[in-house]
């Protein structure tokens, strides 16, 4: 998100530089932005680093990209992030989740919760990006919907052929990031991190012999047993290559409703199916009690191996209840199909419909276009930042 904002600032003729945790440095590869890495051993010295950067660069504003991440980072280094308020430089927070709606308590890993430090009300300037916030004109609400991916037919054909798809095959894309492989050494989260791809692969296997799963992520999953040569793993790709693959797909399957790839697919008229889980279960009986029908043998066995189950909208972290307020009456959710992980029939029916029924596909694409139209009426982050800095009181972001 921060990079997108920086790119827009760059295109508008402004300069942007990053003070960024070393783990996130790869995200800045091939970008024109200066970067100062933050190493974990820095600890409270981060304050000196920030001070020296501000003294050196004399920025017009400091942007927290985003509030949640920056707050967690500073506190992790043993620093109260409020020190940033000491500077005369305007402080702008990217409020990804719209904390005034979601609150600050995040559910994850079963019944465990985590509280994010609440100092956002002390920040006068907040960018609320749509997606994921509702695309309704309010202070700070701006569009962050990416430009659509458009690739030439010959490129699409080449990419698909290289992946191993024939002209009649259909391709379902699934993306993972490093943080989705093992969740903070938490046993339950790690179990779900490992097992969800297998269940999704099982669902894909039921869509027909010509439906392939194309997985882009840091490491392959052992899914060949379910899909054979219909499982294709691609390592992490450059942004251009990623767009080529995304633009060559027939459907995006996601287990993270807030993923930027979902937004890019929506903007690019690629159907998106988001899987979430609302089932909190410690036993098979508890899990099956929430099902509309008895589970298939595979699903039943999968549940048994995956207990305890906990709700998530950001697999495998959780964020289920936390995100509910911001997703309520949010047209973003109409631009994609949202299905329950354990509702085998619905997952398969929805995915199959989008792959096989032009009517179902067209209906969703119309919703995507309507959503894109709504976001297009919003100001851009740069416009809002400029308003902030010009002293436009209307743009001040009260809840």
């Amino acid at each position: 998100m921060g990079i997108r904002v920086a790119q827009q600032l760059h295109e508008a003729g402004d300069e942007a530089s990053f003070v960024v945790h070393e783990r996130s440095l790869p995200l800045l590869t091939d970008t024109p932005f200066r970067r100062v890495p933050i190493h974990d051993h820095l600890g409270p010295l981060i304050k000196l680093l920030i001070e020296s950067q501000i003294a050196e660069e004399k920025p017009d504003s400091i942007i927290l990209a985003d509030y949640f991440t920056a707050t967690v980072l500073f506190l992790g280094l043993g620093v109260d992030p409020r020190f940033l308020l000491r500077f005369d430089t305007p402080l702008i927070a990217i409020d990804t989740w719209s904390h005034s709606e979601t609150g600050f308590v995040i559910d994850g890993y079963g019944d465990r919760t985590r509280e994010v430090a609440n100092w956002i009300d002390e920040l006068p300037f907040r960018l609320r990006p749509a997606p994921i916030v509702r695309p309704v004109p309010r202070p700070g609400v701006c569009t962050i919907l990416p430009d659509p991916v458009r690739i030439a037919r010959r490129v699409r054909n080449h990419v698909r052929a290289n992946i191993g798809l024939t002209s009649s095959d259909r391709a379902v894309m699934f993306c993972t990031a490093q943080w989705q492989y093992a969740a903070n050494n938490d046993e339950e989260a790690t179990l779900l991190a490992e097992n969800v791809p297998e269940l999704l692969a099982y669902y894909v296997s039921k869509l027909g012999n010509d439906v392939h799963l194309v997985h882009v992520g840091p490491a392959a999953y052992p899914l060949s047993g379910l899909l054979g040569e219909r499982y294709h793993w691609l390592p992490a790709l450059s942004p251009d290559q990623f767009d080529m693959v995304l633009g060559s797909m027939d459907l995006l399957l996601s287990a993270n409703i807030s993923a930027t790839t979902n937004a890019k697919a929506v903007a690019s008229s690629i159907p998106v199916v988001v899987v979430e889980n609302s089932c909190l279960a410690g036993t098979v009986e508890e899990a099956e009690a929430g099902l509309r029908e008895p589970p298939s043998p595979f699903l039943g066995e999968w549940i048994r191996r995956s207990l305890p189950l906990y709700p998530f909208r950001l697999w495998p972290l959780g964020f289920h209840d936390f995100l509910q307020p911001v997703l309520q009456d949010n047209s973003y959710c109409t631009a994609m199909e949202v299905v329950e992980l354990l509702d085998e029939d619905r997952v398969v029916t929805v995915c199959g419909g989008l792959l096989n029924s032009s009517a179902a596909r067209e209906d969703l694409l119309q919703c995507q276009a309507a959503y894109a139209g709504e976001t297009a009426r919003l100001p851009t982050p740069v416009e809002i930042i400029e308003s902030f800095l010009s002293g436009d009181a209307e743009c001040r972001s009260s809840a």
Partner: protein, 316 residues
């Protein structure tokens, strides 16, 4: 004999769609190359001791200013021109004749299969193999030297001996085998097309033997030395030792160093390896896909010694 070479990426575009294209030509719908920059590069390096200009792409022969470029190189006085090509355009005798007349002395021709099924399915050009073979014959008839280049993939690895025999039969002077560099187009096909080195060795070694028995020069390009220990005397990376390249507007001062520094990595077994500097390491994309279990420090004292000190190898 190592020579000083100027290397020019003339175009991004190609009339083939190779699954393993290292520069990703099939992913380009328009050329990003500014021709005036190519002309400038050739001009500013003339009379600087470069013994050859190597033209490549994409497919250089389809560039609308291809012949103009050859004329310009000739007029600037470069002693030799080498052309990397799929030779499809050279299947027309008149085209081949004109290219040779304009000074191309060495053709480096892609040959990735011995049958249309093996070659054309990888290059995406139905009928391509036959035209490539015609192209080889045409330039040989004009007295030019031909080196074939075979990128080794899962699709052609078992055919390496047959491909080599075909190259011998059509009179190729020099047969080069390239280790697949899994970038560009190959990024999308990694698992499907990337063979393990164990798979490669099983067919590569007999292929080398066929070429050697026929008196043809054989080289290996881009292979970690420990992956082909028994054939370590065949590495190509000595042929040009001073390559200055123009690639999409960027001048790469030392292509060998660029490849070592930015396109390859050393894995733990490389730590003690005696030929580490010569070898340059392994492609990180390969390591990501297959791990590094196949690699080990190159054998030294007490081990069978390959022709490491042979005349075709020079150190940095």
């Amino acid at each position: 004999m190592p020579i000083k070479c100027l290397s020019v990426h003339l175009t991004d575009l190609c009339n083939s769609k190779c699954t393993f294209c290292v520069v990703g030509s099939p992913l380009y719908t328009k050329d990003t190359i500014v021709y005036e920059r190519v002309v400038q590069f050739l001009h500013e390096n003339a009379n600087n001791g470069y013994e050859a200009v190597n033209l490549h792409g994409g497919e250089a022969t389809i560039h609308p200013r291809f012949f103009d470029t050859l004329e310009y190189i000739r007029d600037l006085g470069y002693p030799e021109v080498h052309l990397q090509t799929n030779a499809i355009a050279l299947s027309k005798p008149e085209f081949a004749r004109r290219v040779v007349e304009l000074g191309v002395t060495l053709f480096i021709i892609s040959l990735h299969g011995h049958t249309p099924e093996v070659q054309d399915s990888q290059t995406g050009t139905p009928g391509g193999l036959m035209r490539t073979l015609d192209g080889i014959r045409n330039v040989k008839q004009q007295g030019a030297r031909v080196r074939t280049n075979t990128v080794i993939t899962r699709q052609n690895v078992t055919s390496l001996p047959a491909i080599t025999q075909l190259a011998v039969d059509v009179g190729v002077d020099h047969i080069n085998f390239s280790n697949l560099h899994p970038v560009g187009s190959a990024t999308f096909a990694l698992e499907r097309i990337t063979p393990t080195f164990a798979e490669v060795r099983e067919y590569l070694y007999p292929a080398i033997d066929i070429a050697a028995a026929a008196g043809r020069r054989v080289t290996l390009e881009g292979f970690p030395y420990c992956a082909v220990v028994e054939k370590a005397g065949f590495h190509l990376n000595n042929e040009y030792r001073d390559i200055r390249m123009l690639m999409r507007g960027v001048v790469i001062e030392d292509y060998d160093a660029f490849m070592s520094d930015t396109c390859r990595v050393f894995v733990p077994p490389c730590g003690d390896c005696a030929v580490r500097d010569l070898c340059g390491g392994v492609y990180p994309e390969y390591v990501q896909l297959r791990g590094w279990d196949e690699f080990s420090a190159f054998p030294t004292a007490g081990s069978p010694q390959p022709a490491l000190a042979g005349p075709t190898l020079t150190s940095h």
